[in-house]
C-alpha cells in the first residue's frame, strides 16, 4: 500500500478526493444509494438538489464519524458497534441540519429540505463512513474521502438525471419505463466508470 504519510498534504488530499469520486464511485462502482437515486433522478434540477445535500452530509458525517470512531469507539473497545453508532450519528446530524437550514433560509429549505429525510436513510452515506475505516486515514484525509465520495454520488445522479430527462422525451417500450431503463442506464455508466479503476489505488 502506498505510504500515505509520504505524500505532501495537498496531493494526498487531492488523490483521495479523486479516487473516491471516480475510481471508487459510490453509486456506480459500489451500487450504494440506489433507492433515492432511482426515485429522484427524473430531472436534473432535483438531482442536483439531492446531490448537493449528499455532498454536504457525507463530508460532515465522515468527519464526525471519524472522530467518534477514533476517540470513542476504539478507546472503549467498542469497534464492533460502529455500524449502529454511525447510523445514529448520521440521523441526528441530518435532523440538526434540517433545523438549521429551515431557520436560516427558507429558500434553501424548500429546495433541500425535502431531501434531507431521504438522506437519513441513504446507504451511500453510511457506506462512505464505513469504507473510510478500511484505510489508515488521518482526520483531514477522512474528510476529503467523504467529500470525494459525496461528489462522486452527486456527479453520478446528475448525469443519470440528464440522461433520463432526454430519454423521457422518447417513447419507450412499456416494460422499460421508469426504473427499468434507469437501471440499464446506470449499468452502462458503471461500465464507463470501470475505465477509471486501476488509475489510482489509494
Amino acid at each position: 500500500m502506498t505510504p500515505l504519510a509520504d505524500m505532501s498534504l495537498l496531493s494526498s488530499f487531492l488523490l483521495i478526493f479523486v479516487s473516491a469520486a471516480f475510481t471508487d464511485n459510490i453509486l456506480l462502482a459500489r451500487f450504494l444509494g440506489m433507492c433515492s437515486c432511482l426515485g429522484v433522478s427524473k430531472k436534473v434540477d432535483t438531482s442536483i438538489g439531492l446531490g448537493t445535500a449528499v455532498i454536504f452530509v457525507t463530508a460532515c458525517t465522515a468527519a464526525l464519524n471519524y472522530l467518534v470512531y477514533r476517540y470513542l469507539l476504539v478507546p472503549l473497545g467498542l469497534d464492533y458497534l460502529r455500524l449502529i453508532t454511525f447510523i445514529v450519528v448520521i440521523a441526528a446530524f441530518t435532523q440538526f441540519v434540517e433545523m438549521v437550514i429551515e431557520r436560516v433560509s427558507e429558500k434553501l429549505y424548500n429546495a433541500l429540505g425535502i431531501f434531507l429525510p431521504l438522506i437519513t436513510v441513504n446507504c451511500a452515506i453510511l457506506g462512505i463512513s464505513l469504507f473510510m475505516l478500511n484505510k489508515p486515514y488521518s482526520f483531514l484525509q477522512a474528510f476529503s474521502f467523504g467529500l470525494g465520495g459525496g461528489f462522486g454520488w452527486f456527479l453520478a445522479i446528475t448525469l443519470i438525471g440528464a440522461i433520463r430527462e432526454r430519454i423521457n422525451e422518447a417513447t419507450l417500450p412499456r416494460g422499460l419505463e421508469g426504473p427499468g431503463i434507469t437501471l440499464i442506464i446506470i449499468g452502462i455508466m458503471a461500465l464507463g466508470f470501470i475505465g477509471f479503476s486501476g488509475m489510482i489505488k489509494i
Binding site: 470513542l72 472503549l76 473497545g77 467498542l78 464492533y80 458497534l81 449502529i84 453508532t85 445514529v88 450519528v89 441526528a92 435532523q95 440538526f96 433545523m99 438549521v100 429551515e102 431557520r103 427558507e106 429558500k107 424548500n110 425535502i114
Partner: protein
C-alpha cells in the same frame, strides 16, 4: 463478558440519549418562532399561537377545525385554506392537490403550511361552527354483510346542529400497529335530533377506519369526531328531484328524504335510485316502502347489477346508470343528488348531462 455487554449497552444508550437531548435542545433554541398572530377572514377572528407547528394543528388547538382525512400528512388534499400573507413558498407535497387556478389564488394545504410569522388567511365561514365532539356508541347494528349503522350519543358538547346531507369526521383509535386516522362519514339521522347522530359505514377491505369500526369498536365505547362539514344539502328550489346512491352512499340521502318528509316538503316529486350488487346488499327496504305509502311524492327504485338471472328478484336489474337512463330520458327540469364511489358518480353525471340536466343542478359527495 458481562462487563463488555454492559459497556456496549451503556454506550448505545448514552449515545442515543445524548443525541436526542441535543436535538431537543436545538429544536427549542433554533426553531423558536415566538408568538404569531393568525388573522382569519379579514379580522373575523384573530388567534395568537406559538409558532412552529403546522397551520392545521395551530388552528385546531384554537377550536378552528379544517377538514382533514389524513391527519396532516399531506395525502388527502382536504385541508385547503387561502393564505393571503405569510405562507411562504408552496411545498412540493402540496402541488399535486392544487389546480393552477388555486395556486394563483394562494390556496394552500393547511397541514403543510408552517406557522413561522404572522399569517393572514381565509376559510369558509361555515367552518367556524365546526367543533370537536366526544360521544358514546349507543349501538352498532349490521344492515348488510358489510354495512353497519352506528348510533352515537353526544357527550361533550351535548348537541350538534347540522343540515341533512352534511358529514362528520370520525377519529379512529390505534389498533394492531395501524395509526389513528380521521375519515368523513355522512350523518344519516335527522337534524331535529340534536343529541344523537347516526352513521352508515361500509367495510372497506383493509381500510384503516372502517376496519376499526367493524372489528374493534365496541358498544358503549367513547369516540371523538368533528363536524359538521360539507355543502351537500337540499337546494332551496322547487325542481323535482332525482337521488342516486350506492352502498353506504345511502347515508345522506336517507337523512335528506326523511328531512323533507319532516319539514312537509311535498311539492317536489322525488325518485331515489339505489344501486347494489345482489339482494343481500340491500337494506331499509321496509322503511322505504313505508315512506312511499305515507308520501305520494316519493318513489324508491332499488336496482341490482349482479343478481343471478333466475332469482326471485322482480325489481330493476342492471347498472344504476342504465336504470336512471331508462327512467329519465329527459332530465332537463330535475335536480340531482348523488352519493357514492367516484366511479359511480362520474358515470351518473355523464348520463344526467347527456339527458339534458344542467351542470349546476347536480350535487354530489364523492366517497
Amino acid at each position: 463478558m458481562l462487563l463488555s455487554v454492559l459497556i456496549s449497552v451503556g454506550f448505545l444508550l448514552g449515545c442515543g440519549l445524548f443525541l436526542a437531548a441535543l436535538l431537543l435542545l436545538a429544536e427549542k433554541k433554533i426553531l423558536n418562532y415566538g408568538i404569531c398572530r393568525i388573522q382569519i377572514n379579514a379580522g373575523r377572528k384573530e388567534l395568537e399561537v406559538a409558532g412552529g407547528s403546522s397551520l392545521l394543528t395551530s388552528l385546531a388547538e384554537h377550536n378552528v377545525f379544517i377538514p382533514s382525512a389524513c391527519g396532516g400528512r399531506g395525502t388527502c388534499g382536504y385541508c385547503k385554506v387561502t393564505v393571503h400573507e405569510g405562507g411562504g413558498a408552496i411545498h412540493p407535497v402540496e402541488e399535486p392537490y392544487l389546480t393552477p387556478e388555486e395556486i394563483a389564488a394562494n390556496v394552500r394545504l393547511a397541514c403543510q403550511v408552517k406557522v413561522r410569522r404572522d399569517l393572514d388567511i381565509a376559510i369558509p365561514e361555515e367552518l367556524f361552527s365546526v367543533s370537536r365532539y366526544r360521544a358514546r356508541v349507543e349501538h352498532k347494528r349490521p344492515l348488510t354483510h358489510d354495512i353497519v349503522e352506528l348510533r352515537l350519543k353526544l357527550l361533550d358538547p351535548p348537541a350538534l346542529t347540522f343540515e341533512a346531507g352534511q358529514y362528520v369526521q370520525l377519529e379512529s383509535a390505534e389498533y394492531k400497529g395501524r395509526e389513528s386516522v380521521m375519515r368523513g362519514y355522512s350523518i344519516s339521522s335527522l337534524p331535529t335530533e340534536t343529541s344523537h347522530i347516526e352513521l352508515i359505514i361500509r367495510l372497506v377491505p383493509d381500510g384503516i377506519c372502517s376496519t376499526w369500526v367493524f372489528h374493534h369498536l365496541k358498544n358503549h365505547q367513547e369516540v371523538n369526531f368533528s363536524g359538521p362539514y360539507g355543502f351537500f344539502h337540499l337546494a332551496d328550489t322547487d325542481a323535482p328531484i332525482i337521488c342516486i346512491a350506492g352502498g353506504s352512499g345511502m347515508a345522506p340521502i336517507w337523512s335528506i328524504i326523511r328531512d323533507m318528509q319532516a319539514r312537509g316538503i311535498t311539492h317536489r316529486p322525488t325518485t331515489y335510485f339505489f344501486g347494489a350488487l345482489t339482494q343481500r346488499d340491500l337494506f331499509f327496504l321496509d322503511e322505504f316502502k313505508q315512506i312511499e305509502k305515507d308520501a305520494p311524492w316519493f318513489k324508491f327504485v332499488p336496482a341490482l347489477s349482479q343478481e343471478p338471472a333466475d332469482s326471485d328478484w322482480t325489481g330493476e336489474r342492471g347498472l344504476i346508470t342504465d336504470v336512471v337512463n331508462r327512467h329519465f330520458p329527459d332530465a332537463s327540469q330535475h335536480e340531482a343528488y348523488l352519493c357514492g364511489s367516484p366511479g359511480m358518480i362520474d358515470a351518473a353525471i355523464a348520463v344526467l348531462q347527456n339527458n339534458g340536466m344542467p351542470e349546476h343542478h347536480i350535487f354530489y359527495d364523492k366517497f
